[in-house]
Assembly symmetry: C2
Homo-oligomer: 302 residues x 2
């Protein structure tokens, strides 16, 4: 019996300040966001998605994107990224001197339409311009495809559409692609099947996985991805986030839980567990409610 070896090192993309906060109803003060991101910068994380330059009326929780990016203390060796939906968002992002730009599109027509009121094709046109302009301004770009493993409106999502969008985004010039299980329906078999196709076309270091834990399968999906050679995972400290289509249900995979599993498997992350937990406790205090991660819940009771 032979097994795939696990990778020696994994890179965690912390998305809590963006994907975590955007789904929370409570507005976190700008100074608290900045303090939190500065704490995250000291944990050893090499990548933090700090906010989103969408229209503030869409996501009031992140309406202070410009102030946040301008005031955080950038640590050496950390990439600070922000989500950008269009040229207007990109101009704000460039003005605030973000390191990296993230663009997003859904693999499901209905989800894309409900999310940003454009068809997938219209969105591709917009993103092509955003990516081109980012590169012109010496910014690297990360691409997100959401609802990769299932859509809250359409159910099944075609692998071929995911592959088509993958090609489309890499042709535009993105450096890294993040495949999102936006509503947390993925299972490890699905992960294997998709990655088997994808890794025929692109090397593993270009692919990140973005799981939500809505049905408790996120860590198993991480394991399935590790076995396929994937070394980049998005997660949100404390499991902050929730599912946009089921308030109260579990949300993003928790960075602290992911870090627990990886480090106990001997996989390097360069992250300090105590600093990570301390940053989670800080945000739990500001959110004024118990965070969802197992690591935080365990610590609160011991």
């Amino acid at each position: 019996m032979t097994f795939k070896q696990f990778p020696e090192q994994v890179f965690i993309r912390e998305v809590g300040p963006r994907d975590g906060l955007q789904n929370e109803s409570k507005f976190i003060n700008t100074e608290d966001k900045i303090e939190w991101i500065n704490q995250l910068s000291s944990t050893g994380l090499s990548y933090i998605e700090v906010t989103s330059f969408v229209n503030p009326t869409w996501i009031p929780a992140l309406s202070d994107a410009d102030s946040v990016v301008k005031q955080i203390t950038k640590a050496p060796g950390v990439t600070y990224a922000a989500l950008v939906p269009n040229m207007r968002g990109l101009n704000r992002a460039l003005e605030s001197q973000i390191d990296e730009v993230s663009v997003f599109i859904s693999a499901s027509e209905t989800h894309n339409k409900k999310n940003i009121n454009k068809t997938i094709r219209e969105t591709e046109t917009v993103l092509a311009e955003v990516v081109r302009e980012s590169i012109t301004n010496n910014k690297s770009v990360r691409g997100y495809i959401s609802t990769v493993f299932g859509c809250p409106f359409e159910g099944n999502v075609e692998i071929n559409e995911v592959l088509r969008l993958t090609d489309s985004l890499f042709e535009m010039g993105i450096e890294e692609l993040s495949l999102g299980d936006t509503i947390g329906v993925a299972n490890p078999l699905q992960v294997r099947i998709l990655l088997e196709e994808l890794l025929k076309r692109y090397p593993q270091e270009k692919i990140a996985m973005h799981f939500h834990n809505t049905r408790g399968t996120a860590m198993a999906n991480v394991l399935a991805s590790l076995e396929m050679g994937i070394t980049k995972f998005d997660s949100s400290l404390g499991g902050l986030g929730g599912c946009p289509y089921a308030p109260g249900a579990s949300g993003n995979l928790a960075t602290d839980d992911l870090h627990y599993m990886l480090s106990n498997m001997g996989i390097q992350t360069n992250i300090n567990a105590e600093k990570l937990l301390s940053a989670a406790m800080f945000m739990q205090d500001k959110m004024d409610k118990p965070l969802d991660s197992h690591t935080v819940k365990y610590r609160m009771n011991n």
Copy 2:
């Protein structure tokens, strides 16, 4: 790149009425326990551990073991088991006509001592008699080893001690062994390493895995076990249970979450998801607090 195939069928051992309830402070009325077990019997589960014949002063939550076993409606095709610590417990179990007896021992000396006030060697002597008497009375026996992947007092647990106890229990005459991650510290690499050793000596159908989700790793550990060919898993409906050493932290792997993942991977369980969820909702109502499973939390918000 070749992968281990997943098994076609998995057998879930429902331990909620025993392992779930024993760690909850609230006493569930006998008639409600019976109603719940009867509901579980209708879900398609083939195995239910219904109670524990330990000294009622140890675990007041299960002090009505005799009444529960005598009054449940036994469904055809379902095995009803109960935990038995000693001959006194066995006599009660036999008197109430349980189908199968479960015996337990810890792989950590300190945990065993704190749990049942005996050394491991003393416990082995007791269990040998319990297993012998059970077999004499035509009852099959299931063995549990707890703290297999770590001990709350000693930390590391030696694989050699787990292997020694495995041999000891099978020599006594147990039919199936359940390996317990009592405090939820296991990671998939540990699972692989242990099972690689164990499956050199015993066939996979003799081994069940019993994971707790205290650090969120239970489902990943299930996946690692599936890849090793394991087809038997203990779980507790709704994630009922909690960690005995961290009140409020996540407890047993939730049957409904496990079932979600398995069925979406195309693995047969013969369990009806709706009936399972309905039985979880019944117990959530009786417990008068939100259950911990992701499936229940999701349903409560949709």
